[in-house]
């Protein structure tokens, strides 16, 4: 029996199964099976990612004409996304095992999953927007799960920024739809490129998707939301959801024709700044999850550099896209493993476990830092190759900056390892299989996925044994060692701490000032105005009391119901007469 991979039901199930399970959760008897199946709702999507090797599009009679399908770019994204959802879901089942609100977590987990998978599978504008919105809003429930005041604050900021992103994305979608004359995503980049309002559309897209992707200065929600969410949700947020913003950029922006050097340079500059900014602020954090959050900002910056290359140099488009695909996969798996490792490290109880967990974390951290033979090194090699396409002298500068960024990443990873290393033995802790098993799978994937791939990637992997991959990590490690030694010396007072959210705090201070101005002036004026409007209405009522008296007189006819009825009956009779005559 051949299973046709183009059957619409299969594709609908990839996005619909999580929604279906979410709908079953309120039903008392079906709750446990639904919660058990929760991670595996991403299985159909994973199957599609593994089995579908050509470009496919199926049409469904939903919304304004839903088209689901896969192209090579989205296939890669779907692969690591679905994998991570499954792994994190299994992890969550153990991590939140005793949690009273686990059912609520499952509901939001499934909704967010559906949104995430759906936006990758979407091949039309409206469906992409729908799933993107679903993912963004449903993740709010994941962020505020713990319910404490700090977590609620993080959730509020997250929601505000998601809504702000919507405000930028909707006009972008509308303008793009009109420019393209169709909703098909294939037609979008060319339409944006050729539109008279290209600067406006590109600006809206960069900001709208940039909020989700954690672009510089739009990232302020990230260091608050990622630590606030429960660990498995953080893994998803950093691993797959910020990639959704990246995917939006890749699908909508005109990469290739024509050359947009101004936008390209802007993206490259913003990206490289973010790469270093994330590290600098991340080094001042003390909570491991905050460090990882800032690391995500930094890594997304590097991917933005590749995007900039694609925008500026049309001929380098394929190279840049390959670099982004490899880097995104590497980052998703590595960051996922690191986040899940934080939770695992918390539960360690014996020194043997401590050793094993430490090794796992070290592997994942080395991968992210770009140690030779790791996926990080492969990704960085691809990235470097892409930047060679940029014209001199930028090319040389970029190469150097990328190497320095690698040093910076190593520094940050070192900081992370120092923060997360399970310190003392806690015999009362227990490390259930439901935690370390999925985590081990994640670490194994991080360490080994490059070797599972076609020959080109394997040869690149061998290339990473070169010195250029080795020295940044070595320098970084030395710096970490030195920093740690300095830090531990008595009398060391320089301990900068920047609260999570960095730039946001500046903004909030500004808003506070404006708030004081408003309270002193604007609000009382507005209230007085509306009070005046209401008062005038009442005033007018009192003035026309003659009418009131008349109405009251009329009202006193307590046979008026009958009078009215008689009138209506007469009218009806008259009409009937006219009709029949």
């Amino acid at each position: 029996m051949t299973i046709t991979l183009t059957h619409p039901a299969l594709w609908l199930s990839a996005v619909g199964l999580p929604l279906l399970l979410a709908l079953l959760l309120p039903v008392a008897r079906l709750r446990s099976p639904a919660q058990l199946l929760m991670p595996w709702a991403a299985a159909p999507a994973l199957g599609l990612a593994l089995l579908v090797s050509q470009e496919v599009v199926v049409e469904l009679p939903l919304l304004l004409g839903m088209r689901l399908g896969l192209i090579p770019l989205t296939r890669v994204f779907l692969l690591f996304t679905a994998l991570l959802w499954i792994i994190a879901g299994v992890y969550a089942q153990s991590y939140l095992a005793g949690d009273a609100a686990f059912r609520r977590f499952c509901g939001f987990y499934l909704l967010t999953m559906s949104g995430n998978l759906g936006l990758i599978l979407a091949r039309d504008l409206v469906s992409f927007y729908f799933f993107f919105t679903l993912m963004g809003l449903a993740a709010y429930g994941l962020v505020i799960h713990a319910g404490t005041a700090a977590v609620q604050r993080a959730g509020r900021i997250y929601l505000i920024l998601v809504i702000l992103g919507e405000a930028f994305l909707l006009p972008a979608m509308l303008l793009t739809a009109v420019a393209a004359g169709t909703y098909n995503l294939e037609a979008v980049p060319a339409a944006v490129a050729g539109s008279a309002q290209r600067p406006l559309i590109m600006g809206l897209l960069l900001i709208g998707f940039g909020i989700k992707a954690g672009a510089l200065f739009l990232h302020v929600w990230l260091p608050l939301a990622h630590p606030a969410a429960p660990t498995p949700a953080s893994a998803i947020l950093s691993g797959t959801m910020i990639k959704a913003g990246l995917l939006g950029w890749l699908l909508f922006l005109p990469l290739g024709e024509p050359a947009l050097p101004a936008w390209g340079t802007f993206c490259m500059v913003a990206g490289i700044t973010a790469a270093f900014y994330g590290v600098v602020v991340g080094l001042t954090q003390s909570h491991p999850k905050s460090i990882l959050a800032y690391s995500s900002v930094s890594q997304m910056g590097l991917m933005t550099v590749a995007l900039g290359v694609a925008l500026a140099v049309p001929t380098a488009r394929t190279l840049a896209l390959s670099a982004i695909m490899v880097y995104a996969t590497h980052h998703a798996l590595a960051k996922g493993a690191l986040f899940l490792g934080v939770g695992v490290a918390d539960h360690v109880s014996t020194s043997r476990q401590r050793l094993l967990v430490g090794v796992g974390l070290l592997l994942a951290a080395l991968a992210l830092a770009g140690a030779p033979l790791s996926s990080g090194a492969v990704a960085k090699t691809f990235l470097k190759d892409a930047t060679y396409a940029v014209s001199d002298p930028w090319s040389a500068r970029l190469s150097l900056l990328l190497q320095l960024a690698a040093v910076a990443t190593t520094l940050l990873m070192g900081r992370f390892l120092l923060a997360v290393w399970p310190d003392t033995r806690k015999p009362d802790h227990h490390l259930p299989a439901g935690l370390w098993l999925p985590w081990s799978v994640a670490v194994a994937l991080v360490a080994g996925w490059v070797f599972l791939l076609p020959e080109e990637l394997a040869t690149v992997a061998v290339k990473t044994l070169a010195f250029s991959s080795f020295w940044p990590v070595a320098v970084g490690a030395l710096l970490v060692g030195g920093g740690w030694w300095l830090y531990r010396r008595p009398g060391m007072r320089f301990r900068p701490a920047i609260p999570e959210g960095d730039v946001l705090l500046l903004l909030l201070w500004l808003l506070n000032v404006l708030q004081r101005v408003r309270r002193a002036g604007v609000v009382p004026a507005w209230n007085a105005l509306t009070r005046q409007a209401d008062r005038s209405a009442g005033h007018w009522q009192r003035q026309t009391d003659v009418v009131t008296t008349l109405i009251r007189l009329e009202g006193r006819l307590n046979t008026w119901v009958v009078a009215g009825t008689i009138f209506m009956v007469l009218l009806t009779l008259a009409l009937l007469l006219v009709v029949l005559v």
């Binding site: 009679p61 919304l63 304004l64 004409g65 009109v178 909703y183 009522q541 026309t544 009806t572």
Partner: protein, 504 residues
């Protein structure tokens, strides 16, 4: 008289006859009253569906009764009329079921149902009106028929609200009458024609502009355009079924529907553009959209917040009308139906909360999602629809309005829509958050004896039905039976030049 001429009359008769009978029945014949009423509604719904099919296939239904030379009582069904008629007939049924559940503790049922039926008759007459005279006639009967419903409770506030309502409505009616009479004195009897009945005639432009302004002002009272909206929040004093009917179906939609008729079927979009009246209209609409939402932000009373939200959302329809383009026409017209469904859901839920738990203020709604999950699910769905999130119905209308605005080059209208969306989120999402995520400050006061469901089933079923429709109308907007497709058909017939429209 042939069948096609009789059917519009039968549609009207199916609601007016039971209403009149109910007046004579007396207070205590509750069951007979209810069966009579529901039976009549089913008959009406069947007739409407029959007409719908006929109109789709291109048939015509027309009843013409000459009253005076030059003044005919004309009922004519076309695609636009059927949209409104379907909305009013369908929601009448749903609201009746809700009213049966709600009204048990209020007195004067006979009076209530009688005038309820008369309001719906007037709405149907309005929908089917084929010329300005008939339209005006039913416009005024609607005012008269809804007044007793607004003052039903007969308290001081109710009577004051009724007074305000009458003042606004009668004044608006006078303005409309002036416009109608002036126009008829210029060109003779004006019948609604798809594409505009004044097209091609050489008329004094300043007179036409003045007439347009008068008509829009007269219709604008019922449409709650700024600054003629003052009566609407005050009318919230009415019982919940009345607020639901008034705010979703009868009164406010009558005004919006009237504006749609005047622009497309009296003046015609081309003539309106020539006269230059569309830009001021879109300005008024935009102002109302923003103003309504801003006022809604500061209200703690739930029904008043919903009232201001209605003020704001109705002007989406007027904005759609004022922008020249197929997409915005479709968006404005389909929003007639979508907004009706969504708003009625919200008012049903508000009524359930007031009736079961005595909750009228938003500050009292903390944690109510735990006590009344089904109601709050319906409420949340309607809220997401009002905000315009996909895949709900509100998104479809907003999307088409946005497309039309971009196509017409009016990017500032897109900004108005975005601002309105943000404001909608600002005053609706906190309610949803408080209901689901906060803990109740004190145990709820139960006003009803505990039953199998969280509240009376007759109250819950209508709310869930309309919430489901909100989802279905959005999710299956591309199907052949959706309001969107019907609106596309209307737009096709109303607009004489048709630029390319995107989508299915």
């Amino acid at each position: 008289m042939e069948l096609s001429a009789l059917i519009p009359l039968l549609v009207l008769a199916s609601s007016i006859l039971p209403s009149l009978l109910i007046f004579f029945l007396g207070e205590d014949r509750a069951r007979l009253r209810i069966w009579l009423y529901l039976g009549a509604e089913i008959v009406k719904l069947l007739l409407v569906v029959f007409m719908l099919e006929g109109i789709y296939l291109g048939q015509s239904y027309e009843t013409r009764i000459p009253l005076l030379p030059g003044v005919d009582f004309l009922l004519r069904a076309n695609a636009l009329a059927m949209l409104f008629l379907m909305l009013s007939a369908g929601l009448w049924l749903v609201t009746t079921i809700y009213a049966i559940g709600y009204m048990e503790e209020l007195p004067y049922h006979g009076r209530f149902y009688g005038f309820f039926g008369l309001s719906v008759t007037s709405t149907a007459g309005l929908a089917l009106a084929g010329n300005l005279f008939t339209f005006y006639f039913f416009y005024e009967t609607l005012t008269l028929a809804t007044y007793p419903l607004v003052v039903h409770r007969q308290t001081r506030e109710a009577l004051a609200a009724g007074r305000t309502y009458m003042r606004y409505a009668v004044a608006g009616g006078a303005l409309l009458l002036l416009g109608v009479v002036w126009l008829q004195s210029l060109v003779g009897p004006v019948e609604f024609t798809e594409g505009g009945s004044l097209v091609g005639r050489n008329l004094n432009t300043s007179a036409l502009v003045a007439i347009f302004a008068l008509m829009i002002a007269g219709l604008g009272v019922k449409t709650a355009l700024f600054p003629l909206h003052g009566w609407l929040p005050m009318a919230m004093i009415a019982p919940a079924p009345v607020s639901a009917l008034v705010h979703a179906v009868a009164v406010v939609k009558a005004g919006a529907f009237g504006i749609v008729r005047v622009v497309y079927e009296v003046f015609g979009l081309g003539l309106c553009r020539q006269l230059g009246v569309l830009f001021p209209l879109s300005l008024v609409a935009s102002t109302t959209i923003i103003y309504g939402s801003l006022r809604a932000l500061t209200q703690d009373d739930l029904k008043r917040r919903l009232a201001y939200s209605t003020v704001s959302q109705l002007s989406y329809i007027v904005l759609g009308v004022a922008i020249v383009g197929t997409a915005s026409t479709i968006g404005g017209i389909v929003h007639l139906m979508h907004q009706g469904i969504m708003k009625i859901t919200l008012f049903f839920c508000a009524g359930i909360l007031a009736h079961t738990l005595g909750i009228t203020r938003i500050s009292e709604m903390d944690g109510v999602g735990r006590r009344m999950p089904a109601t709050m699910v319906a409420f949340s769905i309607a809220v997401f629809g009002m905000i315009g999130l996909p895949p709900f119905a509100g998104f479809i209308s907003k999307w088409y309005l946005g497309l039309g605005a971009v196509e017409a080059g009016q990017i500032w209208s897109v900004a108005v829509l975005i601002t309105s969306t943000l404001l909608n989120m600002a005053y609706f999402l906190p309610i949803v958050y408080a209901a689901w995520f906060k803990a109740p400050a004190a145990p709820f006061t139960e006003k009803l004896p505990p039953g199998r469901f969280e509240t009376g089933p007759l109250l819950l079923a209508p709310a869930l039905t309309t919430a489901l429709l909100t989802l279905l109308f959005g999710l299956f907007a591309a199907s052949d039976f959706s309001p969107l497709q019907w609106s596309a058909l209307i737009a096709e017939r109303e607009l004489t030049t048709q630029p390319e429209v995107l989508g299915p």
